[in-house]
């Protein structure tokens, strides 16, 4: 008889010290200095290092044979949870009972050595993933078949193309047979055909009676594979139940926007008499949103205020202003610039405080994350300049009005441009 539970987590919590994150490799000197400081202060009055609870009291029970998807935005604690379940890192508090053998796939190709041949790497990688030598040998043919690599088995993997490499890595991982499988973001690798094969293998695993925990951003795949979902937010479980409902809650959560508060932002240039204080994104109805949609209208609302002790010059207005928002990709490469100078003929005079709105009628960006640079000038003097200060998340939308989405492989590779083709 199978055990009723595969996993039972009780109030697990994980704390990271932020100091350690910023400087993960303290040198001996730092440590000695720190120690001396602690000694010189009385009774541990040292200011505690800032800390972050990546997980904060997460409890759940997972039955044997259940396939569960864990969703949540970046930083919600999904990866930390998988790391704790797979024993890579310890929880700070709490307790987890595990019934059965656990295998984890947080990455494909873990431990591949470039100098070793494909055959050698199958054994090395398999054993790193927790397979017994006998098991690997028994499934060897199957793995090679799946990876479509016959004839290259004795070639060092450093000579493999990246496609071959990923295929081999996934093939080994897919033949892992623990009772409980933890999977992080490895669903789709390789070219389109192989991706389909991977997803097929995944649903085979999911339906094979094993307990599986998936973490992925691919909501379509999650919906297809998992019946139950757990939504994490800020290190806590905020929803747990049938996948569809959980995904709905998750996607709704993405739409609720909090304005980017810029008042505490220190990395800025300019005279600073007038400064941006907050940024919001709004849709066509003026409702705050947290992301843009390709092809839909997007309004970037910029709150600004005059610094304390400063007063606008003439008639309580800042004269001759120029404001711009530059949009760049995540590497900081500027894609385009929306500047008031380009679209407004007359010089603008601004009141002491207010909100500037930049309206983009059809957002020409494909699904990706982008960075905004904000710029404000008064009378040819730079007042506030925040380089790459704000992140804008864009999701796929019907930009071309044809119902066709920008293909996956092209995403983030540039700006969408309206165009037409005339054919003979």
């Amino acid at each position: 008889m199978s055990p009723p539970f595969a996993l039972r987590a009780e109030a697990i919590a994980k704390r990271y010290r932020l100091g350690a994150r910023i400087d993960p490799n303290p040198t001996l000197r730092d440590s000695l200095v720190g120690m001396a400081r602690r000694l010189s202060r009385f009774r541990g009055e040292a200011a505690p290092a800032p800390e972050l609870w990546a997980l904060d009291g997460v409890s759940f029970e997972i039955g044997a044979g259940e396939v569960v998807g864990i969703v949540g935005r970046n930083g919600a604690g999904k990866s930390t949870l998988l790391k704790i379940l797979s024993r890579i890192t310890e929880p700070t508090r709490g307790r987890i009972e595990v019934y059965g053998r656990v295998g984890s796939l947080l990455e494909v190709g873990t431990g591949f050595h470039p100098e070793l041949s494909g055959r050698e790497n199958i054994f090395l990688n398999g054993s790193i993933l927790g397979m017994r030598r006998r098991e690997i040998a028994a499934r060897f043919e199957e793995i090679v078949d799946f990876a479509e690599l016959e004839g290259f088995l004795d070639t060092p993997v450093k000579r493999y193309s990246s496609g071959m490499y990923v295929r081999l890595a996934f093939a080994v991982a897919a033949h892992l047979e623990p009772e409980i499988l933890l999977i992080d973001e490895v669903l789709a690798v390789g070219d389109a055909a192989f991706q389909k094969k991977c997803l097929g293998k995944m649903s085979e695993i999911a339906q094979g009676g094993r307990t599986v925990l998936f973490v992925s951003h691919n909501t379509a795949a999650m919906q297809h594979l998992c019946r139950r979902g757990i939504l994490l937010e800020g290190g806590r479980v905020v929803a747990d139940g049938p996948m569809e409902g959980v995904l709905e809650t998750y996607l709704r959560g993405l739409r609720v926007a909090t304005p980017w508060d810029l008042t505490g932002w220190t990395d800025r240039q300019g005279a600073g008499r007038v400064r941006f204080t907050a940024v919001r994104f709004e849709d066509e109805a003026g409702t705050a949103v947290s992301q843009g949609v390709s092809g839909r209208p997007l309004t970037i609302a910029l709150d600004y205020a005059t610094a304390e002790g400063e007063a606008p010059l003439a008639e309580r207005r800042w004269p001759n202003c120029r404001v711009s928002v530059a949009i760049s990709d995540r590497l900081g490469q500027t894609l385009f610039n929306c500047s008031s100078e380009l679209v407004i003929q007359d010089p603008i005079d601004l009141p002491a405080t207010g909100t500037l709105r930049c309206h983009i009628p059809h957002l020409p960006l494909s699904q990706n994350q982008y960075l905004l640079t904000l710029f404000l000038e008064v009378n040819r003097q730079v007042e506030d300049w925040l380089l790459h200060a704000v992140e804008l998340e864009v999701v796929d939308g019907d930009f071309y009005g044809t119902g066709r989405l920008y293909p996956d492989g092209w995403r983030g590779k540039g700006v969408l441009v309206p165009h037409r083709w005339m054919t003979p």
């Binding site: 890579i88 984890s104 050595h113 090395l124």
Partner: protein
């Protein structure tokens, strides 16, 4: 989402309980080590296999490394400085000490850097971390075997015959491995937290080489410093190697108390290293 009732779940204890651990009272988790014995084999095998990939001379380096060092030191210390060598030809004398030394220093070097070099494994998959430095130490045994063959040739050249003391060799090699493991575990674990270790290791090895009677016999040390040399667990070991390998060639007494002291020092280092390592192990994935 319960599939069966609470009561049934009580019937079977969990296979694994994940909880925070703290303090020095760590279980040694020997069962865990046994469970991962195959991975230990594969990691060691990988280190051996990869060692001389894409080198022209391959495993010949295992012989060239001590041989080159020996020729250099034989010239400097044997010819120029005219160090005594307990009545043995200086090249053989030095070579017999350099063989275990080179194994030891390579082992410390690779074990010391092993955890940081395997950060991609540590952050992605669980297994007892001790396997990483341990396999780095063991992988050097192949080289040690090859260079032991080399000294056979050198002894034949000088007409030195092996004696029954040679049977001590496996014991001595075992002790060297344990000593290298003890120091290697400390270095590798501290290296995860303090990247200073990378720069400290070559310096430590240089001091250790000259603080150990490898290139000189212990008899050249003044009487009142002899005890200091004995504190170094490698001293007794190196001298024992010399007797085991060259015993027939020179009137060398086998220094049992010296070897005993080495054994005690080795065990102390190893035990503290294992506990220290276990204690630091749980933060590796967060720090590496």
């Amino acid at each position: 989402m319960r599939i069966q009732t609470e009561e049934e779940s009580v019937s079977r204890p969990p296979d694994l309980v994940i909880e925070p651990t703290s303090g020095w009272r760590q279980p040694l988790a020997l069962g865990d080590l046994w469970h991962y014995r195959e991975l230990f084999y594969f990691l060691t095998w990988r280190d051996v296999k990869v060692r001389y990939k894409q080198t022209v001379l391959g495993a010949v380096w295992a012989l060239l490394q001590p041989l080159g060092t020996m020729v250099l030191f034989a010239w400097i210390f044997g010819r120029v400085a005219r160090l005594p060598s307990d009545g043995l030809p200086y090249p053989v004398f030095a070579f017999a000490g350099l063989i275990p030394w080179i194994f030891f220093s390579n082992a410390l070097g690779s074990a010391g850097n092993s955890l940081v070099g395997s950060s991609h494994l540590i952050t992605k998959v669980y297994f007892p971390r001790i396997l990483i430095p341990a396999s780095a130490v063991l992988a050097g045994l192949v080289d040690l075997g090859i260079s032991l063959g080399g000294i056979g040739g050198l002894m034949a050249w000088y007409g030195i015959r092996p004696t029954w003391w040679l049977l001590m060799l496996p014991l001595l090699v075992g002790m060297t491995v344990l000593l290298a493991l003890g120091v290697g575990l400390w270095l590798s674990a501290l290296h995860v937290r303090f990247r200073d270790i990378r720069y400290l290791i070559p310096f430590l090895l240089q001091i250790w080489l000259f603080a150990t009677p490898i290139l000189y016999p212990r008899s050249v040390l003044p009487e009142r410093y002899q005890w200091l040399s004995q504190l170094n667990p490698l001293s007794g070991l190196i001298e024992a190697y010399r007797v085991a390998l060259l015993g027939g060639g020179a009137p060398l007494p086998f220094d049992w108390p010296g070897l005993g002291l080495s054994a005690v020092g080795t065990m102390l280092l190893l035990i503290t290293a294992i506990y220290g390592f276990r204690r630091m192990e749980r933060t590796f994935a967060d720090l590496v």
